[in-house]
Amino acid sequence: MTDWLLDDSPTSRLQANLGRAFRIWTALLRNPLAVVGGIIILVLIAMAIFAPLIAPYSPIGQDLANRLMPPSADHWMGTDELGRDIFSRVVYGARITLLIVTMVAVIAAPIGLIIGAVSGYFGGWTDRILMGVTDIFLSMPKLILALAFVAALGPGIENAIIAIAITSWPAYARIARAETITFREAEFIAAVRLQGASSARVILRHVLPLCASSTIIRVTLDMAGIILTAAGLGFLGLGAQPPLPEWGAMISRGRTFILDQWWVATMPGFAIILVSLGFCFLGDGLRDVLDPKQGDKS
């Protein structure tokens, strides 16, 4: 099996693709930090899927007799001001975090990729105008821009996702443009064009797939920033609304009790840090494997 996967002269496209995936996989497994990051993210996904099985209590069930209890065997992370179990809320919060990062990646990455690829492929005035707009967005403060957009759209989780996506696409456009320019004049592109392929087909079928690996690296590395921005919006009361157990909003609720009941605000923060670190580790690992020349020297 391994021999078939690592065959130097694959006989089918499937074998070539599987072989490549296998090589990336084994290279990732040799990178301890990437493995740690991958495990953290797998745990996050598992928590999101199996939240009702993992969480010992309901995330919104109130128990006023047991409010503001310190961490104990019953309540691993203590309880909040309404007697809700913080650990259960953190577990359910994984769903919201995962939803936000996935939606932002699904919205922002394709928009950025297409704008960048079109810009790099056509060049000339198309390039100048599209990259002008991209640069304007890039030189704006992202968090402030997201805040202003949420202010206009109204608070809520959907609007937070839209606002973060609007501020994240320019980075992907830059990457896609840089990649596209390197192989715009390549012979395989010329060959496809001579066969009569339309520009749309060349971009979608032949240019975009080649931008995929650098975009995946960038998206993974950006995840930490997206999580922090989403938590920040939640903290300011502009993201997910109560009683949703969003981590940033939970920290905001715990603010009042920070001096006496420290666990209410601190526990969700640890979840944010852990997940962000996980994405950083995995992103660094992916970069080392997929794109060795970009890794910073260490």
């Binding site: 002008g132 707009v133 640069d135 304007i136 967005f137 030189s139 704006m140 403060p141 992202k142 968090l143 402030i144 821009l145 805040l147 202003a148 957009f149 949420v150 202010a151 206009a152 759209l153 109204g154 930490a224 920033g225 922090l228 938590a231 920040g232 903290f235 300011l236 009361g237 502009l238 940033g248 920290i251 715990g254 603010r255 920070i258 001096l259 420290w262 605000a265 601190t266 923060g269 944010i272 840090i273 962000s276 670190l277 950083c280 910073d296 020297k297 260490s298």
Partner: protein, 349 residues
């Protein structure tokens, strides 16, 4: 000989002039872009601005008249140009929460943010640069490990959370620093606002008590901001230094017997100072942005606090005004560090 020198000098001056002209053009276009975005945000706000003025029981005639008086019936492009004209002449409208013109509010709140961000960047530079150099010259040492961990934490710790934990530990538990706010309540209003920067104002007035009190309040939020820029600056310094130290001219210098201290600071560090200007500029701009969160946690009466208050009260004029100011300063710092880089680094010309 002198001819060649003169020609070289002339081309250098020309190069600088071209860089400055480019800087002015790009900055102007970016500002227009920022204005277009805030204008767009102001237009898509779901609250009908006319209804807000006339109330929802107004007749159709009154509504239309108000709409016309507010200029909302004119073409979008005319409205946008009017908006740009207003902003340029310093008219950002009235804030509904404070009841004052937004420009006046921003002028009062900005110094507090500036003071905190400046102390923050000073901490970041004066600790971050030496740490980065040390990490590069002693690869694998504890400084190197600390910087690696700090760098990772800088990307993954929410600033507002760190602020809360900092308050709980250093204010409540240890009592090392003063609590939220810019100054103790009994000093409030004693100071003539000359610059609005309490540290400078109190020094000018010779009020040492107020100076120390303001510093006490400033230390924690500024250190937390400084931590984020330190993490970034140290990481970048380390990577620039490693790059320089790998060059052959460094080996040559060492072989010639140049003292190690001189090799590090004179030969390796000297060329990277220009790259560092860009990094420091970027992190200073990021600090202004990051202060929004920190100010909320520390009840710091700065522009970030003003912005979040306005957000919660749906005070559109104030939100857009604060966005414009933070955005404009952010863009300006970015573009200035860019043009400095171009003018100082001969390779970028």
């Amino acid at each position: 000989m002198t001819d060649a020198r003169e020609r070289q000098l002339a081309s250098q001056v020309l190069g600088h002039a071209a860089a400055l002209a480019r800087f002015a053009f790009v900055t102007a276009v970016t500002f227009l872009g920022l204005l277009a975005i805030t204008f767009f945000i102001g237009r898509v706000v779901p609250i009908d601005p006319v209804l807000a003025v006339v109330g929802d029981r107004a007749t159709k005639e009154v509504y239309d008249a108000a709409r016309e008086a507010m200029g909302l019936d004119r073409p979008l492009i005319v409205q946008f140009l009017t908006y740009v004209g207003d902003v340029v002449t310093g008219n950002l409208g009235m804030s509904i929460t404070t009841g004052r013109p937004v420009v006046e509010d921003l002028g009062r709140f900005f110094p507090a943010t500036l003071e905190m961000a400046t102390i923050g960047i000073l901490i970041g530079v004066f600790l971050g640069v030496p740490m980065g150099v040390l990490a590069a010259t002693h690869q694998g040492s504890w400084v190197d490990q600390v910087i690696r961990v700090l760098g990772l934490l800088g990307y993954s710790v929410p600033a507002f959370w760190l602020g809360l934990v900092g308050l709980a530990v250093f204010y409540a538990a240890l009592g090392w620093v003063a609590g939220p706010g810019r100054i103790d309540i009994y000093y409030d209003g004693l100071l003539d606002p000359v610059t609005g920067l309490y540290l400078i104002d109190s020094l000018v007035a010779g009020e040492w008590d107020i100076f120390w009190n303001a510093l006490d309040h400033l230390m924690l939020p500024a250190s937390i901001l400084g931590f984020f820029s330190l993490a970034y600056i140290a990481r970048m310094t380390r990577s620039f230094m490693l790059d320089q130290l790998g060059h052959e001219y460094i080996t040559t210098a060492r072989v010639k017997g140049v003292p190690e201290r001189r090799v590090i600071w004179r030969h390796a560090f000297y060329p990277i100072r220009i790259q560092l200007i860009t990094v420091i500029g970027l992190s200073y701009a990021a600090l202004l942005e990051g202060s929004v969160m920190i100010e909320t946690v520390f009840s710091w009466p700065g522009i970030g606090n003003y912005l979040t208050n306005a957000l919660l009260n749906a005070d559109t004029n104030a939100v857009l005004g604060a966005t414009l100011v933070i955005g404009a300063v952010f863009i300006l710092i970015n573009k200035i560090s860019d043009v400095l880089y171009r003018m100082l680094d001969p390779r970028a010309r």
